[in-house]
């Protein structure tokens, strides 16, 4: 690879680079050979980086004006909205930014599921990614508490109360988390502190995520290993940078649409009512991006069981690379798995929908069916289909799809169409 040959042009640059090879790193990132057939589902890594930076920058500015105190938090948010220059813009970017962040991360995760990006040799990238996702959920949940509206308060009460389901020590742990005997000022204070901390942990993990990615290189829609660099690859810059930039701009147009024209549509109107420990809202619902897990939690009649199942729904993803027995990465060549993939997508969307509805009647039934299917997909479907499925012939390379099963030139085109 070219970074081995990289020599800085000026003497000063060479002096510096010999001591800290930042320029070598820059050259590596620029030249990084990337499969040339990456489609737009692959642009969400860059989009997610943009989301993280946006949240950090707007968050730092908001923290300059926000007051983390139970009596002042709600008023300080209104102060930001009314009196801080462009405070409304910064806050709406931050609050809608959280939703856009999750939208992008879900596409990113499902991309990985479809094209088998979690499989060998990319298991570590996948696991670091899931850790980022977990931290994102923690950060988003705590961030939603900060305005100290009704949903903030009651959402915090519901989620922290989950820990009380732990046998024997549950109540002590919950009290310890609260720093009080209910969700109160100490809770708000520590949530603010952690909400400020977590994005920087995420940033660190993102560096590891990208580092781990640069060891094997990108997966691609065909899902085969490719020689790097070769006819199948392009340098990251300018090919991938310009494509990522284009996709990011389209994403930003949608983002701006929310921020400027429907800034509160993704939030809950109850959160503009100041927190009141004496009045419980009719329906306590989390933000949309946590709804599938909320549905799983409520589908179990037992509290501890629900909590265990909800956490299992996330942690099962960590062993996904070992549950999937198929040797073929991309679902493009897996006619059976492909169908199950889309059923899983529908299942998760359905869980999200019933998560927003009251847990009764048909919704409870749907939540239970959806939950059972979710786990069946990973525990049964993935290992079994991987063994039994007869996969389609796989091309030898991206540029020259020479086939394993004899000559069939039309397949090359077919592959491209699918991709």
């Amino acid at each position: 690879m070219s970074e081995h040959e990289y020599v800085p042009k000026s003497k000063a640059a060479k002096w510096f680079n010999d001591r800290l090879p930042l320029l070598t790193l820059g050259a590596h990132l620029t030249d990084y050979p990337t499969p040339k057939n990456l489609n737009y589902w692959w642009t969400f890594g860059g989009i997610l980086t943009f989301c993280l930076i946006t949240q950090i920058v707007t968050g730092i500015v908001l923290a300059m004006h926000y007051v983390a105190h139970a009596d002042l938090a709600f008023a300080s948010v209104e102060h930001i909205m009314r009196d801080v220059n462009y405070g409304w813009l910064i806050r709406y970017i931050h609050s809608n930014g959280a939703s856009m962040f999750f939208l992008a991360v879900y596409i990113h995760i499902f991309r990985s599921l479809f094209y088998g990006s979690y499989k060998s040799p990319r298991e570590v990238i996948w696991i670091i990614g899931l850790m980022i996702y977990l931290l994102m959920m923690a950060a988003a949940f705590m961030g939603y508490v900060l305005p100290w509206g009704q949903m903030s308060f009651w959402g915090a009460t519901v989620i922290t109360n989950l820990f009380s389901a732990i046998p024997l020590v549950g109540d002590s742990i919950t009290t310890w988390l609260w720093g009080a005997y209910s969700v109160d000022n100490p809770t708000l204070n520590r949530f603010f502190s952690l909400h400020y901390l977590i994005p920087f942990l995420i940033l660190g993990l993102v560096v590891l995520h990208i580092w781990a990615l640069h060891v094997p290189g990108n997966n691609n829609p065909v899902g085969i290993d490719i020689k790097k660099p070769s006819k199948d690859t392009v340098p990251f810059h300018p090919y991938i940078t310009i494509k990522d930039a284009f996709a990011l701009l389209v994403f930003m147009i949608i983002f701006a649409g929310f921020v400027f024209f429907t800034p509160n549509v993704l939030g809950h109107s109850d959160n503009y009512i100041p927190a009141n420990p004496l009045v419980t809202p009719a329906h306590i619902v989390p933000e949309w991006y946590l709804l599938p897990f909320y549905a799983i939690l409520r589908s179990v009649p037992d509290k501890l069981g629900g909590v265990i199942l909800m956490f299992s729904a996330i942690f099962i993803l960590f062993v996904l690379p070992w549950l999937d027995t198929s040797k073929v990465r991309s679902a493009v060549f897996r006619p059976i798995y492909r169908q199950f993939f889309w059923i899983l997508v529908i299942d998760v969307l359905m869980l999200g929908y019933v998560g927003a509805m009251p847990a009764e009647g048909i919704y409870l039934v749907l939540a239970r069916v959806g939950t059972i299917y979710y786990f069946l997909h990973f525990i049964v479907v993935m290992p079994v289909v991987g063994y039994l499925e007869k996969t389609d012939p796989i091309p030898m390379s991206i540029s020259e799809p020479v086939l394993t099963g004899g000559a069939e030139p039309s397949l090359a085109r077919k592959v491209n169409d699918k991709v």
Binding site: R82, I242, I253, G257, F260, M350, M357, I362
Partner: protein, 260 residues
């Protein structure tokens, strides 16, 4: 393949959403009003905002606070846009408690534009006690704090009716078909001709309800006009930039034999 699957997903999702819950049957959907501040380029009707402020001041303000607004807001662009003199006069018509002075005493003085709207009660408990146990909510962000927003507020204001036969109401409880549970502790305060509008508009119940709702919508989102204006510019800018980047991308990728 992928396209047909996406269609399938969208279809099944629409089907799911059409399974709307049989929500509390007695609650009626709010009336849809064609507000001037709706849509991508919506702005507030200045005259309506000024009339709405008058209704708020003469009717609502005797029970409801608006603690996050300042009198100066009334003169700021995108709002009722009262003149500087008018804002000063409005502020000065309120006696504001200030202090402590150098003797340690609290005192009252005429309001200044920088003062927050004066609240009718010293605290939530006092407001609750004075209103039969129901706290009249602060109206600063009320429109954002209710599902249905401005339509809902307007509907409640015009939604008072005699209770249907069989519905018994306690003293101090009123029947309103748009309110959750149909019971509301706020009496119907609007009557035709209640307010004498400074601009000569006829003050029907409907007119006053629309005006005060417009005023509340502005109070909840004083940035709305600037937000809409900036938003249009931002989107135009982004679309142009996207086109340029798209063309650059096509040019760059034309160097190799691959599709973008």
């Amino acid at each position: 393949m992928i396209k047909s699957n996406i269609k399938l997903i969208v279809l099944s999702f629409l089907l799911l959403i059409s399974l709307r819950p049989l929500q509390s049957a007695e609650m009626v959907d709010p009336i849809k009003v064609d507000w001037s501040f709706k849509g991508l380029t919506g702005t507030f009707d200045r005259a309506s905002l000024q009339r709405g402020f008058q209704v708020y001041k003469e009717v609502c303000a005797s029970c409801h606070s608006m603690q996050y607004l300042s009198y100066r807001n009334l003169g700021e662009p995108g709002g009722p846009e009262f003149s500087e003199q008018e804002v000063k006069a409005i502020a000065a018509s309120f006696e504001i408690e200030d202090g402590p002075d150098s003797q340690g005493e609290m005192f009252t003085r005429p309001g200044k534009p920088s003062d927050k709207f004066k609240s009718p009660y010293p605290n939530v408990q006092a407001a609750t006690a004075a209103n039969g146990g129901a706290y009249p909510p602060d109206m600063s962000v009320l429109v954002k704090a209710r599902k249905g927003g401005a339509n809902y507020i307007y509907s409640v204001l015009v939604g008072y009716e005699d209770p249907p036969p069989g519905v018994r109401l306690d003293d101090g409880v009123y029947y309103n078909k748009y309110m959750a549970g149909n019971k509301i502790k706020m009496p119907n305060n609007l009557m035709d001709g209640l307010v004498e509008y400074a601009d000569g508009t006829e003050s029907t119940v409907d007119q006053m309800a629309k005006d005060v709702t417009t005023f509340l919508a502005w109070a909840a989102e004083p940035e709305l006009e600037e937000r809409h204006k900036t938003g249009v510019k931002v989107i135009i800018y982004l679309v142009l930039l996207t086109i340029l980047v798209y063309l650059s991308m096509k040019k760059i990728w034309s160097r190799i034999d691959s599709e973008v």
